[in-house]
């Protein structure tokens, strides 16, 4: 007996609730932008500069004691968070300490790290420091720029590719879905103040790649059906295409999510943020390829009838008859 998540034949009308789904997406995107503007992002040291020290101890972490030990050093903003993870041993207690970039210092002072380590060893002699990372403000500023360029470059490259392979309406639909996914991820990171660092950017780019992957499969089928059913209204063609590819969409998202959930639960806390971003992106990406990208295409309309010569509508064949 086969496992069937989706019946062999489906006939959902994805546009029936278009007003609500698309409306919800618009609201979510706007909310994300507002959240980002109001709350901002919890930038990691990659983008903000500073130092993070990971501590590992056999006795319980006391954030208050750690803070009391570090505060007299006068290092400005210090954030101490305890890390919990199912993969830790019973006597493994981990905390992350983030210290802001120190005024007027490009290179990171070894003494500061040493002072902090010594102060913490006073509190807890069993403490060890499995990782110490410092990024100077000069590099962190550049990293922000590079990250923004990278995400923009990825989006532009994909738009150009889709535009070359499909018609421009599809490219717009695809890019709208992409931006939707990216903004929603930023919104989630903003509302929960999750750490936003280089790994998150890598995750964002992966989302961009994955989301388009889903969208393209639906578009590909729509293109095929547009040729096959010349008289069918666009809305029905899009619906048919989405239905025909639905089991594939669910299967692929399903296998990817299975792998990601394994990584999320068992992969350790070091990459959890990264994996979480990708997982979220896959869910949003699947949603957007069904509910956002096609809506845009429908709104823009696609030129169907090539037999009658009309004024060019800006598709890929517009210059051929010249």
């Amino acid at each position: 007996m086969r496992l069937r998540l989706i019946p062999q034949e489906t006939n959902f009308n994805f546009f029936k609730a278009a007003r609500y789904t698309f409306g919800a997406s618009v609201v979510a995107v706007i909310a994300s932008i507002i959240l980002f503007l109001v709350l901002g992002l919890n930038f990691g040291i990659d983008f903000r500069g500073g130092t993070t020290i990971r501590t590992d101890s056999t006795s319980e972490v006391s954030v208050a004691d750690y803070r009391a030990a570090i505060d007299p050093l006068g290092l400005g903003d210090v954030v101490i968070t305890e890390v919990f993870d199912p993969t830790f041993a019973a006597d493994e207690h981990v905390a992350m300490i983030r210290i802001q970039a120190q005024e007027g210092q490009e290179s990171i002072s070894a003494e500061i790290v040493q002072q902090v380590e010594e102060a913490l060893q006073q509190v807890d002699p069993s403490i060890t420091f499995p990782s110490v990372e410092s990024v100077g403000p000069k590099v962190s500023g550049e990293l922000i720029n590079t990250a923004i360029y990278a995400v923009l470059a990825a989006i532009v490259a994909i738009v150009i590719y889709i535009w070359a392979r499909f018609e421009w309406q599809f490219a717009i639909g695809a890019v709208a879905a992409l931006i939707h996914d990216v903004l929603l991820t930023i919104g989630l990171w903003s509302i929960f103040q999750l750490k936003f660092d280089l790994a998150t950017i890598a995750a964002l780019l992966t989302i961009v790649g994955y989301s388009i992957n889903d969208t393209v499969v639906v578009f590909d089928r729509a293109r095929e059906n547009l040729i096959k059913y010349k008289k069918m209204p666009l809305i029905d063609v899009l619906n048919l295409s989405a239905n025909e590819t639905l089991s594939r969409t669910v299967m692929t998202s399903g296998t990817t999510l299975l792998a990601l959930i394994a990584l999320l639960v068992l992969g350790g806390d070091v990459i959890r943020g990264f994996v979480l971003a990708i997982t979220w992106g896959i869910i949003v990406g699947t949603y957007s390829s069904i509910y956002v990208a096609k809506n845009i295409v429908l709104m823009l309309g696609v030129k169907r009838d090539w037999s009658k010569e009309k004024k060019p509508s800006g598709n890929q064949f517009m210059d051929i008859d010249a």
Binding site: R54, T128, A199
Partner: protein, 553 residues
Amino acid sequence: MLHIARFKQVLIVLACLAGVIFTLPNFFYSRVEMHNDAAKDIENGITNAELEADLAQWPSWLPSDIVNLGLDLRGGAQLLAEVRVEDVYETTMDGMWPQVRDVLVAERDTIGAIRRQESAPGTLAIRVANEDGVARAVELVRGLASPVTSVTGAGQSSLTVSANGNLVTVELSEAQKTVSDELTVRQALEIIRNRIDAAGTREPSIQRTGDRRILIEVPGAKSAQELKGWIGTTAQLGFHEVISTTGDENAEPGVGNFLAPDVEREGVYYILSRTAVVSGDQLTDSQPTFDQNGRPAVDFRFNPGGARAFGAYTSNNIGRPFAIVLDDEVISAPTIQSAITGGSGIITGSFTVEETTNLAVLLRAGALPAGLDFLEERTVGPELGADSIRSGQIAAVVGFVAVMIFMGLSYGLFGWIANIALILNMAMIIGILSLLGATLTLPGIAGIVLTMGMAVDANVLVYERIREELKTAKGPARAIELGYERAMSAILDANITTIMTAAILWFVGSGPVRGFATTLGIGILTSVFTAIFVTRLFIVWWFQRRRPKTIEV
């Protein structure tokens, strides 16, 4: 009918076989590693029973390339250093002063008396007594310039000389600065490499990033701090004339001189002549040793030019102190007892044996041409790395099994065929990573796990398409054929877009992020191969043997 040309079948099988064989060494990671280390030593002419035993850990006829573990998995330290190229402008201009002085003094009649003035670092300012002579002075100094020797700067002069009133200012021209920067960074890279190599670490990676940055990654280094110790400060050694000593740290050293603290005695400062009698780059060798009192010391030897200068200076200044200066600090300031003409000597100070060893290494490797600013440093302990590998492996295996079961349940036999392709896909990813010597990072493992989920995508597309075609097509063979054919465009579109993002990630990312891009990119390529060619081959084999009238996908 379903058919694949014989030579294609052979190629596909060979590619899979290669993937498996090249993955094999990774299952015996530490053995292969020992084998490789021993092989390298033996190649360099060192042989002993222990090395032979290590070598025997892995048969030499098998491939011995293994995946290179990143710092976040193996533990180690990383530094991003920026070379302070401006330092060199300063030394160049200070070095030019005697030359400039000589040509000007020779024409004192027209120019009048000259004096060097305090000026911005990297520039040389000279006050000329006779204002009418300024034009002539500028001309003379310009005569010292040489044409720039780079492609872009060809034909331009190496110096910019300007005059304001009776003040003549000399500095390096922009074109010359570019040439100088390039040389400085390359030299710094070479010297850092020498020093890290001398510290005896395995597989350090030292590479240039951008115009003036150097990224240093050393697996196994205990901390970025330790790494900084190896790279040291500039290790600029010089033997300088002592003008006077003082206890005032704000003393005015006067033009052409500088103030340097004594390393051992707090509150003691020396005023030294900036131009060194002999500088560190004239050293040919240095070794840790002990002085006549049995204290650790460093022994050094000059090249002939250095020996001559040192001999001349010491014979003219017997009874006077001279200072041995390392990185603007006076290590010791002995009084010259007699002329030292042999071209060698020893440096004493309150050193430990370890310090003398380090100092000897630093001096032998040569001085860094300029100071370094450390912009970024990361340390990962080996414990954390090992934990990360363990968690990553467990997660990968669990994810792998879950995806396989899911595929098996959903597509039956065809699902298991996809699963075999998935296993081969993993083997090929790891095999290719090993062959390329690419670095596996923690996000890289995530990339592999993600690829697992996405790798079956191509198969899902094909299988779903076969299901559809079964409804209309004439017979299962035709349906399979059409399924592969018609799913192709969607597979290509979907994967090309993902490859593009992987490429962008690879170009802009560094370290772990680049590791992720690498595995993602390779994973997509191999998964398209296994999903299209390998599964098709298996299905064709199965079909030709069974000739089923109907199939269930």
